[in-house]
Amino acid sequence: MQLASVALAVSSPQEPSQSVVLAVVLLPFAAAAATPVVYRLLGERTAYSAAGVALACFGLVASLHGTEGSVAVQWIPSLDVALRFYVDGLALLIGFLASGVGVLILTYSRGYMHGEDGQLRYYTTLLTFMGAMLGVAFAADLITLFVFWELTSVSSYLLIGHHRRSASSQYAARKAMLVTVSGGLFMLVGFLLLHAVSGAALGDPTFDLVAMLSNAEAMQTALADRGLLVPVVALLGIGAAAKSAQVPLHFWLPDAMEAPTPVSAFLHSATMVKAGVYLVGRFRPMLLGDAWTTLFVALGLLTMTVAAILAVGASDIKELLAYSTASHLGLIVAGFGIAEKVGAETGAFHILNHAAFKAALFLVAGIVAHEAGTRAIDELGGLRHDLPITAAVTTVAALGMAGVPPFNGFYSKELLFEATYEVAAHDGGLAWLLPAVAVFGSVFTFLYSVRFLMLFFGDRPDELEVHTPPRVMIVPAAVLGLVVAVLSVVPTVGVDVIAQSAFESTASTPGEAADLPHIHAGLPTEASPAALMSAATIGLGAVAYFCYPGYGRLRDWVRAAVSVDPLRPNWWYNRSVEGATAISSRAAPFVQNGLLRTYATWALAATSALALGGYAAAGATLPGFSGVELAPATVIVLLVAAGGAVAVARSPSHVVGVLTLSILGFMIAIFYILANAPDLALTQLVVETLVLVIFLLVLDRLPAFYGEVATTRLLRDGALSLVVGATVTVTVLLATANRSPDPIYDYFVEQAPLPTGGGGHNVVNVILVDFRAFDTLGEISVVGLAALSIVTLVAMRDRGESR
C-alpha cells in the first residue's frame, strides 16, 4: 500500500518533506515540555513565546502548502502502527486553523490572562493541545489519529477545569470528558473494525488511512459484505458527534464555556470541535453511501436547527456562541453528509468561514466580558461607543455568521441551500424537507446573529461600565475581523488558497481530484433556488426579529420549551450521572454486605455449580454401587468418624465441638493405619494432638454464643452444605471410578529404593525430600509463614490506627 501512496504522490504537485511535517506536529509538544523553564524566565510574556511557536508552526504548515503525500515514521511495527502523516487540502486547512488561530489566541491570552493564576499550566496545556490538534489534522494512521484525538480531549478537560476550585468548572470538565472520551472509544471500535476489514480489502490488515482511502471502493465493498458498513458509519458518527457537539451530544459544549474565553475561542469553536467534522470529511470518500447520507444529513440538519433555536434562548453571550458553534458544525456535517459534490463544497468551505468569524466573535466576547464585567445578554448594549474597533469586527463577523451577503458565511450557506435543493429536486418526496429545514434553521441563525450584533448598538445601560481593552487583545480580534472581511470581499481567495483543495480531499479519493468542479463563491447573479432560499431566510429573519413575533418573545418561547426537562439531553445526562452514583451507593452494601455467610454462600454455590455443570456438560456418569468391599474394622472406624462429624455439627459448646472434632481426626489416623500408611497415621495423630492443645488454649477467648439464626437461613445454609457435600462426593466418586491406568506413582515406588540396596525404602519420605522436595520447600515456607503470621497478629494488633 506504500506503493499506492507513492504512486499518488507522483501525480500530485510535490511530496511533503518528512522533517517539516514532523516538526509541525512535534514542535508544540517540545515547546510545552519547555514551558516550565520558559515561564520561569519570561513570566506572563510566555504568551508571546508560545505565540511564536504557533507562528513557526503556521509557517511550516504554509511551507507544506501545495504539497500532497504521506510521510511515515515507524512506531509499533509489530502492530503495523506508524506515525503516518498525510498532507492534503483538508489536513492543511485544519493545520492552518490550529496554528493560525493559535497565534492569535496565544497573543490575546497575554491580555486576557493577565494577573490570573495558573498561567504555567495554561500555556503548557494550550501548546499540548495545539500539537495534538495538528496531529489530528495530519495523522494518516488510525491509531496515531486516535492518540492525538484523545489528547485533545484530555487537554480540553484540563482547560475547561482551569478554574479548578470552582464547582461549575469541575462539573463542566467532567461532562466534556465523559462525552468526548467515551465518544472517542466508540470511534476507536470503528477504527478497529476498519482495520480488521482492511485485511480483506487490501491484502494485509493496516491502519494506514491513505491506503484505505486510495482503495475506497474495495473497502466499502468489503465492509458491506460483512454487514459492517452501517456499524462503522455509526461508530465513527458517534465519535464525531461527541466531539463536534452534535445533537443530542451537544450539551457539553455550553458548559465548556467555563473555560477562559481564549480557550473557548480556540478549542471549543475554531479547532477541537472541528475534529469531529474533520473526521466526517476525511472518511467521506470512503464511506459515502445511503447509510452515510441518512445519518449525517439528519444529524447535521437537526443539530443546525436545534442548536440555532437554543442559541436564541441563550442568556449569556458565550452560551449563545457555543450553541451557534454546534449549529454551524451541524451545517458542515450536513454538507458532508450530502452525496452531491456541492455538499462537500459546503462542508469544506464552511469550516474555513466558520472558524474565521466564530473565533473573531469569541475574542469579541472575551473583550466584552473582560472589559464590561458581565456576559449577560440583557445587561449589555450600546457597546460601540466604548469599543469601536470591536464593534467593527463584530459587525463583519456577525453578519458573516448570519449568512448575509456579501459576508463570508453567506457563500458557504448558499452552497448548502444549493445542495439541499439538488437533493430534493433529484429525490423528491420527503427530501423536500431538507431545503425547508435548512431555511428554517438558518432563520434562527440570522436571529441570534443579529442579537449578538445588537449588543453594540442601541442604548448603553446606565450601570454598565466599560474599560478600554489592552491592545494585545484588540489586535488578534482585528486580525480575524480582517480575515473575515477579506473572505467576504474576495471569497475566491479563500477558495483558491485552501478551501478548494480541502473540498477535493473530501470529495475524492487521493489523487483523483482532476474532474472536480471549482467551488462557486460569489454573489448570485440570477434568481437561482439557492438565492431565493437565502432571500427567504433573511426576509423571514428580519420580520421575526423586528416585527412579529419579535426576538424577546421568541426567546421566551425557546426558554419555555427548554424548561421541559425530558427535552433536554443535559437533563438526561444529569439523571444518568446521578442515577449511576445513586445505584452505586445502593449497590455497595448489597454487593458487599460484610457478612462472611453471604460471601461463602456465593463462592461455594458458584464453585459447586461450576463443578456439577462441568460434569453434566461432559456427560459424566456415576459408577453403579457395587456393594461394600471393606474390612469390618474399616467400616467401624468410618462409622465412628461419621458419628463424630455429626456430633461436631450438633455440639452445644466449643469444648465439646473441639473434642468431638478430634474423634474424627483420630479415626482418620486409625483409617490410615488400616490402609497401610503408617507415616500418614503418625503425622495425623501427632498433628491432631497439637491442634487440640492449641484449640484449647484459645477456646476461652472465643465468644460462646453467636446469636440466633433464622430458620430460613438455616435451611438455606443446610441446602448449600448438602450441595457442596454432594459436589465433593460426586468428584471423589468420579475420580476414583475413572482411575488412570498409567499413573506416575508406579514410577516412584520403583525408583525410590536405591539400586544399591541401601536406603530409600520409605517411599513417602523419598517423595517428600527428593522427588518432590520442591513442594516440601514450599510447605515448610507455609509453616514458617504461619508462625510469622501469629507473631505479626499479636505484635501489631494495637497498631490499627497508625497504618
Binding site: V698, N762, V764, V769, A773, L777, I780, V783, G784
Partner: protein, 154 residues
C-alpha cells in the same frame, strides 16, 4: 494445675518423646518417619512442659538464660530461639538444595553415600536428603513452638 504425678510423668516422658523424635528423623529415609513428624513430635514434648511447668520454667531451667525479646510486646525472650530455629531450618533446607547447584546438579538434587565398616554401625547410609529433612525438622519445631509460645502467653 500441675500435680506431682503429672510433673513426674512429664519428667519421664519428655526425654522419651524427644529420643523417639530424633529416631524418627534419622530413620525417615527407610522406615516410617521423617523431618515433619519428628518436628511435630518434638513440639508436643515442649507442649507437655508448657502445660505442666509453664513457660518460665522452660526459659529458666532448660535454657538457663533469657535473651532479651526484640519485640517489647513479648514477655518471653525464648521466642527468639524459636524464631531462629525456623529461620535456620528454612535456610538449611534451601542451602542443601543450592549445594546441589554447586555440584552442577539441579536445585534440590539429592544423593547418597554408603560408608562401610563403621564401628558399631557397620554399614552407614549418608543421605544428603537428611540435611534437607533436618531443615524441615527445625522449621517445623521452630514454627510450632513460636505459635505455641505466642498463643500460650496470651
Amino acid at each position: 494445675m500441675s500435680t506431682v504425678i503429672a510433673r513426674t510423668v512429664v519428667r519421664t516422658v519428655v526425654p522419651l518423646i524427644l529420643v523417639t523424635a530424633i529416631a524418627l528423623l534419622l530413620q525417615g529415609h527407610n522406615l516410617p518417619g521423617g523431618g515433619f513428624i519428628a518436628g511435630v513430635l518434638t513440639a508436643t514434648a515442649f507442649v507437655l512442659i508448657y502445660v505442666i511447668y509453664g513457660q518460665d520454667y522452660l526459659e529458666e531451667a532448660v535454657f538457663h538464660r533469657t535473651p532479651v525479646p526484640s519485640l517489647e510486646m513479648f514477655r518471653h525472650g525464648i521466642l527468639e530461639y524459636y524464631r531462629s530455629a525456623f529461620g535456620l531450618g528454612l535456610a538449611l533446607a534451601a542451602a542443601s538444595g543450592v549445594a546441589a547447584i554447586g555440584f552442577g546438579e539441579p536445585f534440590l538434587t539429592q544423593t547418597v553415600r554408603f560408608l562401610h565398616h563403621v564401628p558399631l554401625y557397620g554399614e552407614m547410609e549418608l543421605a544428603s536428603a537428611l540435611v534437607f529433612d533436618l531443615g524441615v525438622y527445625f522449621t517445623v519445631v521452630g514454627a510450632l513452638l513460636t505459635i505455641l509460645a505466642v498463643v500460650g502467653s496470651e
